[in-house]
């Protein structure tokens, strides 16, 4: 059966469409949410309005960074066509390990190194299981999710580990701090270390995805695994590497969490993976793989924080806040579907 094709029947460029529906779409959405609150806050709160203040943007950036840094890794995983449900518990496992090492008076650099290593190991385990057992990532990470939780409970002896203030180095304690002043002398905003690290890692990941052989392989794998195989990619290796690198980010996020909470409690991470995945999805990542962007993910994570902040400032009750975030996630997925269908047509 001959196919209905002719050499001239090339579809018009999807460039504009891509721009509107891709990461730019998420950025527009972020801008819209910010503008919405910037307008609504003075209407409701009058001269008490505080949404558009340096302080608030500082706080929002700091709050975003924990989810965002883990979502950087998740973006890579999702682009490669995978998913990691264990990110939340792996994150707190890393934080718990960090707390344990500090509590037992190990030097801070060693504790941080082990924390990051824990994240990488969790990712490595996921990657190895997925590529060697050939089980879908959803199932594997569903399993490791509780495994990591269990290990975390073992490490913490089923309670909470909190090292004393003296056992915590200052830089970790202040990792996610939003204490005043808002502006440093010299006009620089006083952003905590976590924000800078996240920005740095975001740039690094963008470069990695765009300019490295590994990055190309991630996109190829997620776009079409059969093609990747046909082109001679070492698929198990690429998969394992993706999860391991993502694990590193999870470890960094674990360090942030410890910096924020000053304690290691393995149950604090339950449900966090959904926030992380949501950030990627809102940011235009496709759960079918092959698509996703770091800028989009950052915007996705930021949208959730902005809504949380705006809802607190407008004194919106929790249930409505939950509904709003849910609506945004569904809308983002809907958008993804529309995009996919249009391209398939």
């Amino acid at each position: 059966m001959p196919e209905a094709t002719s050499p001239d029947s090339i579809k018009p460029s999807s460039f504009i469409a891509k721009l509107v529906s891709g990461e730019l779409g998420t950025l527009l959405a972020l801008a819209a949410v910010i503008i919405f609150f910037a307008v609504a806050d003075p209407i409701q709160n009058g001269d008490r309005a505080s949404f558009v203040t340096v302080r608030n943007f500082r706080v929002m950036m700091t709050q975003t960074s924990i989810v965002a840094v883990a979502a950087l890794g998740m973006t890579m995983i999702i682009i490669s066509g995978g998913i990691d449900l264990s990110a939340g518990t792996a994150l707190t496992l890393s934080a718990t390990v960090l707390a344990w090492f500090l509590k037992n008076d190990y030097p801070a650099f060693a504790a941080v190194a082990v924390c990051l290593l824990t994240g990488v190991t969790c990712g490595l385990i996921n990657g190895l299981l997925i590529s060697s057992l050939r089980i879908v990532p959803f199932i594997v990470t569903l399993g490791t999710m509780t495994i990591f939780l269990g290990i975390g409970k073992l490490v913490s002896n089923e309670t909470t580990i909190f090292p004393s203030a003296a056992q915590r180095p200052d830089w970790i304690s202040n990792l996610c701090s939003t204490k005043p002043p808002d502006m440093l002398a010299g006009g620089m905003p006083n952003l905590p270390l976590a924000v800078w690290i996240t920005l740095l890692l975001a740039i690094a990941t963008t470069v990695l995805l765009k300019y490295s052989v590994f990055g190309r392989y991630i996109y190829a794998l997620g776009s079409n695994e059969s093609t990747a195989r046909l082109c001679g990619l070492n698929i198990p290796l690429v998969k394992t590497a993706v999860y391991a690198v993502a694990g590193l980010f999870v470890g960094v996020a674990g360090m942030y969490q410890f910096g924020l909470l000053k304690m290691g409690n393995p149950v604090e991470g339950i449900g966090l993976e959904l926030k992380i995945i949501a950030a990627v999805v809102i940011g235009g990542g496709s759960l079918n793989g092959g698509r996703g962007s770091i800028l989009g993910t950052l915007a996705g994570a930021a949208i959730m924080t902005v809504i949380a902040s705006g809802c607190d400032l407008l004194e919106v009750r929790n249930p409505y806040q939950n509904i709003i975030v849910g609506v945004i996630i569904v809308a983002a997925v809907l958008l993804d579907q529309v995009r996919e269908r249009r391209l398939a047509a």
């Binding site: 460029s13 059969s226 092959g290 391209l343």
Partner: protein, 490 residues
């Protein structure tokens, strides 16, 4: 009974059917014969209401027949029995037969009435032994087919179309199927029987119709013609200058396959391929040609046998084969051949990024420059190198796939149906590319179901059937009739 007159159908620039005539009477079996792509399926889709013809008319028992869709055609009395069965495997025989036709009162099934209908239909077919309560999933493929046929009887189909019904049946079931068809004929229904296999056609059919390139090439009474005559009707066509010839000279052997066994297919294939040679592989769908290429390239598991590239024996994986100088163009562009959502560039260079990377980091400028060159060389028509492959036409997609293995620097090109679903103009360009590759000293293994292109392009042609290579001769020693009979006879 059924008459189709002057049926024409176009898909875009492609002419699928042109002025096709077909008629079948009650109590008659008509065999519809033709190559892959000759238009048999399209014609049957027109009959079943899945496609609407651009022109032409159909009559059923003298009254005009213009089905709005498959359902309308069924209720009008035209039933199709496809290769792939459409059954709910968890339901019983009776429930399957009555699915959508349930007799009921107030939403409750009238079991007794249904049971009667089903038993009557089974009796008509001479298969009262099939229990209506059996779960369909527990039946053999042949019995399942019987369920579909029974369904057609219950619907009171007057025209029953069988689309290659024996392709997945064991011998015993084939005999039973033929008995059933006999029953249908003696029950005064009209039957259209589509098949490649001339033996079968001779056994069951009264008359035949041959389709070629979407036209009726000939009709007649089966008893009056020889196999040879039918085959020449099927392939008889002059080789146009569709096939640009690039002079090339076969050299030393580069690829040797000895007694290669895959999981199912190939089942003991041996062949050797020389530099600067185009070796065609012909055969029917399911003969194991694709599997042979996949085994060679390490995509399917090799059970036993030996593959030597340049005299070196190897255990194939795609990675190793690419390193050894093999390149594969998949028959399935969509789900395997190309990463549809990636750009033309990314698809072209994916199997060889080394020239553009240092220490794992890529220089995108170099890729763009080289990609543009390749697009120019292969005349890929696109808006730019960054356009996603999914936005391209089939022909341009195929060029990208071919560009990839050329860019990869492969010495042995494994091409699986490289011209399938492509317009004539692009086909010609791809033939030129193949010829140029051979002139460049590359070895080409060219799998195709389209005989004329093999005859025109190849130095040698091998015929595969049932997973083995039946014969391999110089093209000049083959006639199309020989090839068909090698491929068809079991």
């Amino acid at each position: 009974m059924l008459r189709m007159e002057g049926i024409s159908k176009r898909f875009g620039a492609t002419r699928a059917l042109h002025n096709v005539e077909l008629s079948v009477e009650r109590g008659e079996v008509l065999a519809l014969i033709g190559e892959n792509g000759a238009g048999k399926s399209t014609l049957m889709k027109v009959l079943s209401g899945a496609h609407h013809p651009d022109s032409g008319s159909m009559t059923l028992d003298g009254t005009s027949f213009q089905p709005a869709g498959p359902h309308a055609a069924r209720t009008a009395g035209v039933a199709m029995i496809y290769q792939e069965l459409n059954l709910a495997t968890d339901l019983s025989v009776e429930d399957n037969i009555m699915l959508g036709l349930e007799k009921s009162r107030l939403g409750f099934l009238k079991r007794r009435e249904q049971r009667k209908l089903v038993s009557q239909a089974l009796e008509t077919l001479g298969h009262s032994d099939l229990k209506p309560t059996t779960i369909v999933g527990h039946l053999s493929v042949g019995e399942q087919q019987l369920v579909e046929i029974t369904r057609a009887i219950v619907m009171d189909a007057q025209v029953v179309v069988f689309d290659e019904p024996t392709s997945s049946l064991p011998k015993r079931d084939v005999d039973r199927l033929f008995q059933v068809i006999e029953r249908l004929r003696s029950d005064n229904r009209a039957i259209v029987y589509i098949s490649h296999y001339l033996e079968e056609v001779r056994r069951i059919a009264d008359r035949f119709a041959v389709l070629r390139d979407g036209e009726t090439a000939g009709t007649g009474t089966i008893a009056d013609v020889s196999d040879r005559e039918i085959i020449s009707l099927m392939v008889g066509r002059s080789v146009e200058d569709l096939f640009p010839q690039v002079p090339h000279q076969p050299g030393e052997t580069i690829l040797t396959i000895e007694n290669l066994h895959g999981l199912k297919k190939p089942a003991g294939s041996s062949i050797d391929l020389r530099k600067g040679e185009i070796l065609g592989i012909s055969g029917l769908v399911g003969a194991g040609r694709t599997e042979l290429l996949r085994c060679l390239f390490g995509l399917d598991k090799v059970q036993s046998g030996e593959i030597k590239v340049s005299g070196v024996s190897c255990k194939p994986t795609p990675r190793r084969q690419i390193a050894a100088g093999l390149g594969l163009v998949s028959e399935d562009r969509k789900s395997e051949g190309l990463a549809q959502s990636l750009s033309i560039l990314d698809n072209m260079v994916l199997s060889r990024l080394e020239p553009y990377s240092r220490g794992g980091w890529i220089n995108p400028k170099k890729i763009v420059a080289s990609g543009r060159d390749w697009m120019k060389k292969l005349e890929v028509k696109a808006q730019g190198p960054h356009q996603p492959v999914e936005a391209l036409s089939g022909g341009n997609q195929q060029k990208v796939a071919i560009a990839r293995i050329l860019h990869q620097g492969a010495d042995v090109l494994l091409l699986d149906e490289p011209t399938r679903g492509i317009d004539v103009g692009t086909k010609s360009e791809i033939y030129r590319l193949i010829g140029e590759a051979a002139a460049d000293g590359k070895a080409v293994l060219f799998v195709s179901s389209y005989l004329p292109e093999l005859m025109a392009m190849c130095d040698r042609i091998a015929v595969m059937a049932n997973g083995t290579i039946r014969a391999c001769r110089n093209t000049s020693d083959w006639t199309e009739e020989d090839i068909m009979s090698q491929a068809i006879t079991n």
